[in-house]
């Protein structure tokens, strides 16, 4: 186990040298008031440059990422991040820009942003997009603020937001943050939204239905047109959580399904880095009736010039400084240009094919969460039968680490007992999928023959199983020198 940098510290050791002081020395107390000065020196690590380099290099070698191994995290779309994206985003013509430069001197950057918005409009069947939201949940909040502004303009912001019980936890959180009361609508036996249950909760108090399509069980909400009609009949709006857009690109458009507003995740669907801290990007698209409410500034094109337009009286205002995570947007733009509309469509087909291939490989040794039907880009297993053997889904996930795989999403969606949610994405080869399936099948056999291999896992990772409960109950984030 690698020691903490504090533990390899040696008093007085240095990794730097400063030139001789060539200005008059001054006591810090003479220019910073006493009350702002700390009483004790901070306990910082003292190491040589080489010790420091080795420490962080060793830590970096423990990193697990899409560049090293398979990462089948459900609803997260951990696809490969093409290196050409990095190269383009790293061009000095982009990295050298300052956000306060006048519009006239950043026409190329604005053109990229404008074209990205146009492309997303085409892909999603929407009329206008904003690229400002910093990630998915921020996109949801922006969408909810737009919904609220729309209803307020009609005279009543309304009170409730309806959300299926299979939704991502961020949906109710975003609705609540926007001042709405959340009403949960249950799924039917097949795993789709229950239309009768939906009808029973719809009223003129409902502002919006937040729907994920395909949903978190990996199923397409095939009644989406009917759902849209029920929602619109009550005067409410239909919101798409675009987390699972990777199953739709180039094949079906949310706008055509009746969605009025949606967010997309560039860091999932459009191949920008994800999982290492991002940053993300969660653009929001709307139909024309909602375009006036989009955040300012908007990017407009006038006589082949691009400019930031602040003239929007009904706008919800700014949701982020400047114009979003532009470095991420350049990567997504590059991805869309690289694949083109045919390429995006192929990627969708491959993503769905890969998920169905894995599902078929695993369905004899694991139980499917819902009745067996073709899935979209992901599918969900239940560890219910394994639980009877004394093995929980958590144990299966931990055992996968021993075999060098990142664990799938577990215990989500909440409506599936002991859920295991797998999304392979289109960028994995058949060989990788086979290797993962073989390992999962091996683990299922181990659960029967030697359960302790699973309940004690992981065995060979640098850190063994952590006590998550203790960590949550007695959170301790600060290292203290022994005896201090």
């Amino acid at each position: 186990m690698e020691k903490l940098i504090f533990e390899i510290s040696s008093p007085g050791r240095k990794g730097y040298s400063l030139p001789n002081l060539d200005v008059p020395d001054a006591d810090i107390k003479s220019f910073i008031p006493q009350e702002y000065l700390r009483k004790d020196e901070p306990d910082l690590p003292e190491v040589s440059e080489l010790d420091c380099v080795r420490h962080f290099t060793r830590l970096s070698q423990l990193n697990y990422s899409i560049d090293t191994n398979f990462y089948p995290l459900g609803s997260c779309t951990m696809k490969y991040n093409p290196k050409i994206n990095e190269k383009m985003a790293g061009l000095p013509q982009f990295t050298g820009l300052h956000p306060y430069q006048p519009d006239t001197s950043v026409q190329g950057m604005l053109e990229v942003l404008y074209e990205t918005e146009q492309a997303l409009c085409k892909i999603c069947g929407m009329d206008a997009f904003t690229l400002q939201p910093a990630a998915g949940a921020h996109g949801e909040l922006t969408g909810m603020l737009i919904v609220r502004a729309y209803h307020t303009s009609k005279g009543n912001p309304r009170k409730k937001v309806v959300i299926p019980d299979s939704a991502h936890g961020t949906n109710p959180a975003s609705a609540a943050l926007c001042g709405y009361e959340v009403v949960t609508v249950r799924s039917d036996k097949a795993g789709r939204i229950d239309l009768e249950a939906l009808k029973s909760v719809m009223s003129d108090e409902v502002a919006v239905l937040m729907l994920t399509n395909p949903n978190t069980l990996g199923l397409f909400e095939k009644n989406v047109k009917e759902i849209a009609d029920i929602v619109h009949k009550a005067g409410a709006l239909l919101y798409l959580d675009g987390a699972n857009l990777n199953a739709l690109l180039g094949v079906a458009r949310p706008g055509d399904m009746g969605f009025d507003v949606c967010h997309v995740n560039l860091h999932k669907t459009f191949s920008t880095p994800h999982g290492g801290g991002g940053p993300g990007s969660g653009p929001v698209g709307v139909k024309a009736i909602l375009a006036d409410f989009l955040p300012i500034p908007r990017i407009k094109q006038k006589r082949s010039k691009f400019l930031f337009d602040y003239d929007a009286k009904r706008s919800i205002g700014r949701v982020r400084a400047f114009y979003g995570n532009t470095g991420v947007i350049i990567r997504a733009y590059c991805y869309m240009k690289l694949l083109g509309s045919d390429g995006l469509k192929d990627a969708t087909f491959e993503a769905v094919l890969n998920a169905n291939y894995l599902k078929t490989k695993l369905k004899n040794d694991y139980r499917l969460a819902v009745a067996d039907e073709p899935c979209m880009h992901e599918f969900v297993l239940t560890g219910k039968d394994k639980k009877e053997l004394g093995v929980k889904t958590l144990d299966i996930a931990k055992r996968l680490l021993d075999y060098g795989f990142y664990a799938p999403t577990v215990y989500f969606p909440l409506i599936v007992e002991e859920a295991i949610m797998i999304e392979p994405t289109e960028t994995e080869s058949k060989e990788t999928l086979d290797a993962f399936a073989e390992t999962m099948i091996k683990i299922a056999a181990e659960a029967k023959s030697n359960a302790s291999l699973l309940t004690g896992a992981p065995h060979i990772t640098p850190v063994r199983r952590l006590d998550e409960v203790l960590a949550a109950r007695e959170l301790n984030l600060r290292w203290k020198r022994p005896g201090a």
């Binding site: 936890g169 215990y411 989500f412 909440l414 409506i415 007992e417 998550e468 409960v469 949550a472 109950r473």
Partner: protein
């Protein structure tokens, strides 16, 4: 020991113990097992009005966060600070030390709509989640 026969239950896995006009609320043994080790509890403020089936508290485990709904309408008159300090009480003693809050019951007829222990055990057996 609490007499489970005297408790009433909700489909969302809360129990209600009635003492005069006061109803004590907690989550069932089945619920605490399902959500696993509780690591955080957020209780309602005393004096808060809660509606039947309205969100009243939050419980968090390492798996996820869940809402606790009021089994009946009324005003919150007590909150069990002990579970905020030591959330493991919810797992160790779901029906006694692990209670969440108490409500001054507004309409006692609402109690009749809740399940008895027998109904509840049947309800969880038939695959409710």
């Amino acid at each position: 020991m609490v007499d489970l026969d005297k408790l009433r239950f909700t489909k969302t896995h809360e129990w209600l113990r009635v003492e005069g006009n006061t109803g004590y609320v907690g989550i069932t043994d089945h619920a605490q097992k399902e959500i696993t080790d509780v690591v955080f509890v957020e209780l309602p403020k005393i004096g808060k009005e809660v509606a039947k089936a309205g969100e009243a508290a939050v419980v968090e485990s390492v798996k996820a966060a869940f809402s606790i709904y009021a089994p009946v309408s009324g005003k919150v008159v007590k909150a069990n600070d002990a579970v905020e300090k030591d959330p493991s009480l919810v797992n160790k003693s779901p029906y006694e030390e692990g209670w969440f809050f108490a409500i001054e019951i507004k309409d006692k007829s609402e109690i009749d709509s809740l399940m008895t222990q027998k109904d509840y055990l049947e309800f969880i057996k038939t695959g409710a989640h």
